[in-house]
């Protein structure tokens, strides 16, 4: 044990760290006893320890600054990716994004449908007169021919008989089709051999198709417009 150590340690930085730690009680009991004994006999360490103590005293005497405001967070603060807080339930809920898209799409579709519908009502022509006659004939056909006509938009499977009838009908000018007509998308045929009129060569009525399309677009667009509007309104605060 060296109760009096006149020689100073070579590593002054390490010695100063020990002196600093001694002030804070960070040394073990044995280290403290040994260092105190050294300091007692070492003027430089005594001065250093005294100087460090004065520094610590000065720092600890500093007043505690007090902020002039609170740092509390607003209640609306949310964690990243977290669900809305209960206190935020009154906040405006964002409407679904698709509602806006639906609303605008519906409006556009309704406008297009309206324009088409107006066009079919305003535009007249040969097709209208011809179709009027055809419709009249079509209404008479079932009773006279004893056949049930049907509105078909796609040609039925072509059997040999039907193919023959179709060929026959193609050779017949539309004006000669005086027997029962049928609204078949593909040219119909008549069978004189069977004594029945089973079809009429007639193209689909584009005006009626356009009218149906216009009405569908108009009604569907209005429905979509109304749906989107209601959804967006439901997202607003009450």
């Amino acid at each position: 044990m060296s109760t009096t150590v006149p020689e100073h340690p070579a590593d002054w930085e390490a010695q100063r760290e020990r002196l600093s730690a001694l002030l804070d009680g960070q040394l073990s009991a044995a280290e403290s006893v040994e260092l105190r004994a050294h300091v007692h006999g070492c003027a430089r360490c005594t001065d250093e320890l005294d100087a460090l103590r004065r520094v610590v005293a000065a720092l600890r005497a500093l007043p505690q600054p007090v902020a002039s405001r609170s740092f509390a967070l607003p209640v609306a603060t949310t964690l990243p990716g977290g669900a809305p807080l209960p206190s935020m339930t009154t906040a405006r809920a964002r409407p679904a994004r698709w509602a806006g898209v639906t609303q605008w799409s519906g409006a556009v579709a309704a406008c297009i449908g309206f324009v088409i519908l107006c066009g079919t009502l305003l535009v007249g022509g040969g097709y209208g007169a011809q179709n009027t006659a055809s419709f009249g004939a079509m209404r008479q056909a079932p009773s006279s021919a004893g056949l049930t006509h049907a509105t078909v938009t796609q040609p039925p499977a072509a059997s040999p008989t039907q193919s023959a009838m179709r060929d026959t009908a193609l050779a017949t000018p539309p004006s000669a089709a005086t027997s029962a007509p049928s609204r078949i998308a593909t040219p119909a045929a008549t069978s004189s051999a069977a004594g029945h009129t089973i079809g009429v060569l007639e193209a689909p009525d584009p005006r009626a198709t356009a009218r149906i399309t216009g009405v569908s677009l108009l009604l569907g667009g209005l429905a979509a417009l109304l749906l989107g509007w209601r959804v967006r309104r439901r997202g607003a605060p009450r």
Partner: protein, 220 residues
């Protein structure tokens, strides 16, 4: 040695902190604000002593609390106060980095001591005006307070942080190591070096020190 008047006083209560942290992790701002109320003084004091400017310290403290709340789910236990102060100290570092990019510095900053080649730091002329404290309990005169703060700002930031946490806030070495994310040996070294630099800075103005601080001799 008695606790300084600016120290944190009592130790935090981990159980209460844990409960508040758990509620905060579920998104309860009210619970987090209880933690804010508990630690805002020590957080602001740390930022103030690190920056030497009341407004900057308030901004860094506010940003630190916001950052702490947003990162609360990444908190994996341990002393919440140390975790929070680590965020605050990081904010101080960011502030300094931003300040270094600015070309303008005050005369006070330009004349401050720079023991390890770091650029001078923020002015401290507003030290007294930016803080409020009871003058009857203030042991040092305004000049001495300004001198100490100036000396603190002259320290390298790591040494300054270690000294402020140890000698101004009265933290243990263990907690300082957590705040600084380093070892106990490094904490011990930084504190010792910082104190030595402060000793040199204060030595030129020993006449400002009170008699009790000028007294020599071990009193333990």
């Amino acid at each position: 040695m008695e606790a300084g008047m600016g120290g944190p006083g009592s130790q935090p209560e981990p159980d209460e902190d844990d409960a508040l942290v758990a509620r905060s992790q579920r998104g309860e701002v009210a619970a987090f604000n209880l933690l804010v109320a508990r630690y805002q003084d020590v957080a602001y004091a740390l930022a103030y002593r690190m920056l030497g400017d009341g407004e900057a310290a308030a901004d860094v403290t506010q940003d630190g609390f916001v950052a702490a709340f947003r990162a609360i789910r990444s908190f994996r236990g341990g002393p919440f106060r140390a975790w929070l102060l680590r965020i605050i100290s990081n904010g101080c570092h960011d502030y300094w980095r931003a300040q270094k990019r600015r070309p303008t510095l005050s005369l006070d900053a330009l004349t401050s001591e720079d023991p390890e080649g770091e650029p001078p730091h923020a002015p401290i002329g507003l030290l007294a005006a930016a803080t409020t404290w009871d003058p009857e309990t203030t042991a040092l005169r305004g000049e001495l307070i300004a001198l100490i703060q100036r000396a603190l700002l002259g320290l390298p930031t790591e040494q300054r942080l270690a000294v402020v946490l140890s000698d101004v806030q009265g933290f243990s070495y263990d907690e300082i190591a957590i705040v600084m994310a380093t070892s106990l040996g490094t904490v011990k070294s930084r504190i010792a070096r910082g104190r030595a630099h402060l000793r040199d800075a204060l030595q030129a103005h020993a006449e400002l020190l009170p008699a009790a601080m000028r007294r020599t001799g071990e009193t333990e």
